[in-house]
């Protein structure tokens, strides 16, 4: 390259840069900001998950703003305003009130805990503010004929169904069926509704529930409960516990070397929390089946650069990469962005109508592993599904649905006894 052409290149570069910055200035002048209110448990018992969801929301907001914001609204920028529910219903409701009345947010999302989401969405409905439910699975949240409440993720019934579907699939593949199951769950909204669904679906599928035990919160010892499980002699144990309880329980289960022929089937919660895996030794969680809220091995299969970028941002913010909660937070913002593009306005009612007409079949909104997001008349995404993973060789591999199972994943069923590990 000659000196002259090099100079020309530099000059051209300057002109281009000037044009771009000019463009940015014009854009900035016309820009508006759309506020998204997000109530999450940033402290209290569910703080670990709340902060992961927050990281996902922030990652999506930054990605969207960096890519030019909401195009249909002249490049409007998104701004996430967070409220800390402290994992408590009353605090969550007052934070919702604050975000709707004082911060004047266009749309709400949150709030992970069903016990918080249930009353908070009621307040949003009364204030005609659309709410995109993140994480909470209590069925009734979308069964109240509300117009402003939308849920992207599974309801509790789906979670329970998937756990039993996976057992059925593995039974069909091997001819070995679970006949007796024990239920052990946290005593809050989530645990109890999950247990009720398992009870109902289990009866339909010929699975006998031999132990049905709720756990009070903040336990310091699970020995008595483990003894009850041992004397009930179940084939499989179905769990629904949050992280601290899950950690204590997992350790004590491993220490007592309690053998369960068809393993531990966790409904998520603690067993989906990366901080749980950081705190537990790998052999303790070997062969755990986990109902995942996202396709746990998606980073290996989906090569979307936005997914890799979100993973990088999460790693920088939290010290570990994408999780179900991060992907759900991320997905909710992309669903809101999609609705804003179609509504062309941050008006709450227009946004509500746009959300109701959502039909997404590609893009980052599907990072939790869905094929499609489309809400039914109740506001539930009927295409939501999670996956069931099995912890094989220290990695959680998708075993259900079989379409999502990687070619090299070979489920272990029944699981080996502690003495043979």
């Amino acid at each position: 390259m000659s000196l002259k052409s090099k100079c020309c290149d530099v000059l051209r570069g300057f002109v281009a840069a000037g044009a771009v910055s000019l463009g940015l200035c014009v854009g900035a002048a016309a820009q508006t900001t759309v506020k998204i209110g997000c109530v999450l448990p940033l402290s209290g018992g569910s703080a670990a998950v709340g902060n992961q969801t927050r990281a996902g929301v922030i990652a999506a907001v930054e990605q969207i703003n960096a890519a030019g914001g909401v195009r249909a609204m002249g490049g409007a920028r998104l701004e996430a305003v967070f409220g800390d529910s402290q994992s408590k219903a009353d605090v969550g409701v007052s934070e919702t009130e604050r975000l709707i009345q004082r911060e004047k947010v266009a749309v709400m999302c949150g709030a992970f805990n069903s016990a918080v989401t249930f009353p908070a969405t009621e307040l949003a409905e009364r204030n005609k503010t659309p709410w995109v439910v993140v994480g909470a699975v209590k069925d009734e949240i979308t069964e109240r004929n509300y117009k402003y409440v939308f849920r992207i993720n599974n309801k509790a019934t789906y979670d329970a169904r998937e756990q039993l579907d996976a057992m059925d699939l593995l039974a069909k593949e091997t001819g070995k069926k679970v006949k007796r199951a024990a239920l052990f769950y946290e005593g809050g909204d989530w645990g109890r509704s999950h247990a009720a669904n398992i009870r109902k679906l289990g009866a339909e599928r010929g699975i006998e529930i031999v132990l049905d035990e709720p756990a009070p919160p903040n336990q310091v010892d699970f020995t008595s409960q483990l003894l009850k499980i041992r004397s009930a002699k179940p084939d499989a144990l179905i769990l629904a516990l949050y992280t601290p309880d899950q950690l204590l329980f997992t350790r004590q289960l491993a220490e007592q070397r309690l053998d369960l022929p068809f393993g531990v089937h966790s409904a998520g919660g603690g067993t989906e929390d990366p901080s749980f895996y950081a705190a537990v030794q790998a052999p303790m969680v070997a062969y755990y089946f986990v109902q995942e809220d996202w396709q746990i091995d998606i980073l290996d299969t989906n090569k979307d650069p936005l997914l890799a970028d979100a993973d990088k941002r999460t790693r920088a913010a939290l010290g570990y990469g994408m999780s179900a909660y991060v992907s759900q937070g991320l997905s909710s913002v992309y669903v809101i962005k999609d609705a804003l593009e179609r509504a062309k306005s941050a008006d709450r009612d227009k946004l509500r109508d746009a959300l109701a007409a959502t039909d997404i079949t590609s893009g980052p909104a599907l990072f939790p592993g869905y094929q499609r997001i489309k809400f039914d008349a109740t506001g539930q995404n009927t295409f939501a599904h999670g996956v069931i993973s099995e912890n094989i060789g220290g990695k959680r591999r998708t075993v259900w649905p079989s379409e999502n199972r990687a070619a090299d994943t070979k489920p272990v069923w029944p699981v080996p006894a502690w003495a043979q590990r």
């Binding site: 336990q219 010892d221 004590q252 220490e255």
Partner: protein, 294 residues
């Protein structure tokens, strides 16, 4: 219900009870001498657990060794909390000749402050700090008992015995007991009451610091972990008799044993309700607590 399971549940209840009693010791001492309910007791426990965690993470020091460092540090922390935070309030209220009721609210504030500072500093993630001790269960008469829990239970008993002896035999111990019996009479006999208060508070914190390090290997560590222990400790202290060292252990064991065995027959939350029912029942019969003096 077979006897093996029931006996195992009883063993386990004893261990959990002794652990709860050990944690409540410091609270009982502070309650007995200063007449204030230390709401921040659980928070001090949480701090000690985090201390054990960081010592292991950064220095590779086993939680059992960090007891030796945590106890004096927690003593100093407790000493200064009493000296600079609670002390001035007690001095002000004494002029009004009332018990320092508002100290209860003050310690509640200290609890909220410490817990949230911990949340800010350490984040919400659950942590664990495994000890280098590899034998995780001991076989006692055919029952596999968790080694760490056995250690915590035995340490609680040893600590209670040690503190009782110290209170009975040393000058400082006598001064503390005198202050507990009658603050003004002790002051007139030449006891430096504010100093006794500081030492007592420091000692209470040191004791909970020891227990914090000892339970860190088996209790998941979160910034909220103190709350559940704090409330349990309060129940244990009131049940056992305020200010009674032995009562604290007895109270812990009654609650631990009852919950463990009862939960073999009913669901665990129901067992917890029954144990609070038992608590009320015992207080109706013995308002001063199981081991408390009238």
């Amino acid at each position: 219900m077979d006897t093996y399971v029931l006996t195992y549940a009883a063993f386990n209840g004893l261990m959990v009870g002794a652990m709860l009693g050990g944690i409540a010791l410091g609270l009982s001492l502070i309650f007995g001498v200063l007449r204030i309910v230390n709401f921040a007791h659980g928070s001090f426990l949480m701090l000690a657990m985090y201390f054990a965690f960081w010592m292991q993470k950064l220095g590779g020091i086993d939680p059992y060794l960090s007891v030796l460092i945590a106890a004096p540090l927690m003593f100093v922390l407790g000493y200064f909390v009493q000296c600079f935070v609670i002390g001035p309030l007690i001095r002000r209220e004494r002029a009004l000749v009332v018990e320092p009721i508002s100290a209860l609210l003050l310690t509640a504030g200290v609890y909220i402050l410490i817990d949230n500072l911990a949340l800010m500093a350490f984040g919400p993630n659950v942590r664990s700090t495994p000890s280098l001790v590899q034998v995780t269960s001991l076989m006692v008469a055919g029952f596999p008992l968790n080694t760490f829990r056995v250690v915590a239970a035995i340490a609680a008993l040893a600590m209670a015995a040690g503190v009782s002896l110290w209170l009975a035999r040393t000058d400082m111990g006598r001064a503390i007991r005198a202050t507990a019996q009658n603050r003004d009479a002790a002051a007139m006999s030449g006891v430096d009451v504010p100093f006794v208060y500081n030492v007592t508070f420091g000692l209470g914190c040191a004791m909970v610091g020891v227990m914090g390090c000892l339970i860190a290997p088996f209790i998941p560590i979160t910034p909220q972990v103190g709350l559940s222990f704090g409330i349990k400790s309060f129940i244990v202290v009131v049940l056992g008799g305020i200010g009674s060292i032995a009562g604290s252990l007895v109270g812990g064991i009654v609650i631990g044993l009852f919950e463990s065995v009862a939960s073999q027959f009913v669901a665990t939350p129901t067992a917890s309700i029954f144990s609070l029912g038992l608590f009320i029942l015992i207080l109706l019969v013995r308002p001063q607590g199981l081991m408390g003096r009238k």
